[in-house]
Symmetry: C2
């Protein structure tokens, strides 16, 4: 029997599409899934002329692969990954490579790397972003782990990934579970940007009374300029989608309760764990949580009637300001996520090449955007930049847009339109760019009631004061 | 030898003060610490006429206690607690009670309850708040766990705790690790309020150019009215404290880098874990993290020069608005923390009596405030209130202050003074009181790129759409 170049386990829509993508690029691929229907249908969906084999058992699957075997897992994170590893590792040979392409938690990946290493097998965590279409036509791919194992995969990954200016949207993301970590932060940034876009939408529909046709035009225009990005593009399309079940637009019929699959939450927890401030991502996570409390929100909305909104006098100007605010808040969300990667790289010794991260995010993935090109330039000048807000060229963009972010945040605050993401992002920016925060008072309070001590601005050391109570 | 009523292990300042407090109330107490100096000094610090015994070994300590033994641990959370338990449990008898009065993580307490139960011993988690002075003169005490064990302790706890209108600031907080959980959330709320006070301070010093004497007067006035609370009171005092090492006020010499001991972070992580939105607490945690990046902040402040601040025309009015904003944002911080307790009580089957929580927080603890009396009234009317913002009487307070919160948030946004806590709190309020959030768009986006499906407002079910790309 002919041996296949690659194997894919898990033939759900993402796994199947990734498999077809690999096959389309001239590699032969065997697939396996516990669901026999998915195995049966596999061959029929392949591009004619490509070599795709559905296998009915793990034994057949493993036998169908050339060695060292290169097996991609696309199964749900958590127990399913361990279950597959438990079944398949006894069938593998020294030097085989297992690549987890799902959204696994990075600490699980570290554990699995050690477990498989003890059996002379390679295990890699690899982030894949781009949704169903991306998996099929060219995703952004974030592999990390053993460098030798990566070298085996590199030609295939470069072939199947998205391309920007002829450059593949994949690169080695670092040691250990760096691939999963980078993907996790990608998703955290994705949460933040989606939250910000939804707030811009709310400001435009409630603040400036724009209808869906007008919103379509606004997002179309935004997507044609400096805000060009995947998420702006699909938002444009969403406003044009008619509902099949009623007369109106579909977006107006969708319930305002957001789901979440956990990667945003992991990002926030990680940032708290290792001490990085990413409030726009945090707020996006908590905002989805809040959205689920629909019954309470309805009850509260009846108790607290909203003020009349003071519609802006100049609609065109308002739209421009909201757009600039969205652009800048998006930029600051990337800044937070990238700062988390810088710290994580240190903390976990990942050695993440930030320059490559923003380079491969330029295409294929959900947060692709023309902004990434500017970040790429920033890291090209200084690969150790701790926060992209500290780059000179980036700072010029920020200065150009900051007054719009201020006006938009103040408009939301004044008019009772929740701008959680926009307001929080501005608060972060103002805190980050402030030499003297009022945190001296917090340290005084902590020392007052808990003797937690404080540092001084004028000399070294740790101090404690017996604070006097005035009691008057 | 006479047997003592209580034992305390860990004679640091908190443990020693709690021990003296118990002795002052007519109970005999034995103490133990690995540090022999602390044991030696113990007796000398006790109130004359009270029965206090320092013991030189765990064996002596255990022998000195009447049965069932009631042993309070006041040692650092984590491994030290397990170390003490490992040493002491072999020396104990069936039915003895060990009470962990430190800030232990609630899941550790659940584990220890099970471990000690297997040895026929009772283990309880008990939150104690009030700092050094509180421990000595009357803290707020939050015990939870085995109800029978609690009954043994109740008379002592009621004797040593703070009193408000003759009522003791202690009550049974619920099953399992409820005592630790309530204390954790107490600390989360404490983080939020401290953050908000620090922002009010920043707005007054930078926005209205108030000096420390004027700040003292403002906080003094605030503390005499509806804002009366421990944290406002000590803030007042802080502005009067002269520096021993220079000519000025101490607060101006303290470095603006805040420390943290983890309970705020745990609160945020828990809220994400069980799906409750507490953004003011989250932002307080992340704000302390951000404060630690002093070098970056200095660098950023040089790159981004601040705008001139447009000082308000009417200083008196501005101070009033900032005060009202602080009052309301503080109220909403409690609302978030209490909503977390409601959900946690369900999730972990704690059966936390919310009415008793706010009752015992009225005195002794760091977040004591006259506001708690209003919450107590709210829960007296409806003990199942899911969020105190839904109480009619509370809503009248909110409506009275909301325009000040809006103006203050807008002022911070417009003038580049970071109002992270104030802005986020307003954003939370506006989202919580909004029937239709723009989250329908987020669900549309998720369905567009990831086929994550959505619900509709007009019919039951779960839907997926093949979204059209306009590509024009």
């Amino acid at each position: 029997m002919e041996r296949h170049n690659y194997g894919v386990i898990g033939l759900g829509v993402m796994g199947r599409n990734l498999l077809y993508n690999i096959a389309d690029n001239g590699f032969s691929v065997a697939g396996f899934d516990l669901d026999v229907e998915k195995v049966k249908e596999l061959h029929a969906g392949a591009t004619p002329g490509t070599t795709v084999l559905g296998t009915a058992s793990l034994e057949d699957f493993v036998s169908a692969l050339e060695t060292p075997r290169k097996i991609i897992l696309m199964v749900p994170a958590g127990k399913p990954v361990d279950a597959v590893l438990g079944s398949i590792t006894p069938l593998l040979s020294k030097g085989d490579i297992v690549i987890d392409a799902g959204n696994s938690y990075f600490k699980d990946t570290d554990r699995r790397i050690a477990e498989l290493a003890s059996k002379d097998l390679h295990f890699m965590g690899m982030g894949v972003s781009g949704g169903e279409q991306g998996a099929r036509r060219g995703p952004s791919i974030m592999p990390g782990g053993d460098l030798q194992a990566f070298n085996h995969l590199q030609p295939m990954l470069e072939a199947i990934s998205a391309k920007v200016d002829g450059e593949a949207c994949t690169a080695y993301m670092g040691k250990g579970s760096a691939g999963n970590y980078v993907k996790m932060v990608h998703n955290g940034i994705e949460y933040a940007i989606m939250q910000l876009i939804s707030e811009a939408y709310d400001l435009l529909r409630k603040g400036a009374n724009l209808n869906n046709d007008q919103l379509y035009q606004v997002f179309k225009t935004w997507n044609e300029g400096e805000m060009n990005s995947f998420l702006i593009e699909i938002t444009r399309d969403i406003f044009q989608q008619k509902d099949d079940l009623t007369d109106g637009y579909l977006v107006d019929q969708i319930l305002d309760k957001a789901g979440a699959k956990g990667t945003g939450k992991w990002t926030s927890e990680q940032a708290m764990e290792i001490g990085v401030s990413i409030p726009t991502i945090d707020i996006a996570v908590t905002s989805r949580i809040l959205s689920a409390y629909k019954d309470e929100r309805v009850q509260a909305s009846q108790l607290y009637s909203k003020n009349e909104i003071s519609t802006p006098e100049n609609t065109e100007l308002f739209i421009k300001e909201v757009g600039d605010a969205l652009y800048l808040a998006t930029l600051i969300s990337y800044a937070q996520g990238l700062a988390l990667l810088v710290k994580a790289s240190e903390e976990y010794k990942f050695e993440i090449p930030l320059k490559d991260v923003v380079k491969i995010w330029r295409g294929g993935c959900i947060i692709r955007s023309v902004l990434l090109e500017k970040f790429y330039q920033a890291y090209s000048k200084d690969k150790n930049l701790s926060n992209i807000l500290l780059d000179k060229a980036i700072s010029e963009i920020v200065k150009d847009k900051i007054s719009s972010l201020r006006k938009t945040a103040a408009f939301a605050a004044s008019n009772g339109i929740s701008g959680l993401g926009i307001q929080t992002t501005l608060g972060y920016f103002d805190a980050y760019t402030t030499e003297s925060l009022p945190v001296n008072l917090i340290q005084a309070q902590r020392d007052y009631f808990g003797a937690h001590t404080y540092q001084r601005i004028d000399r070294e050391g740790v101090f404690h004061t017996s604070w006097k109570t005035s009691n008057n």
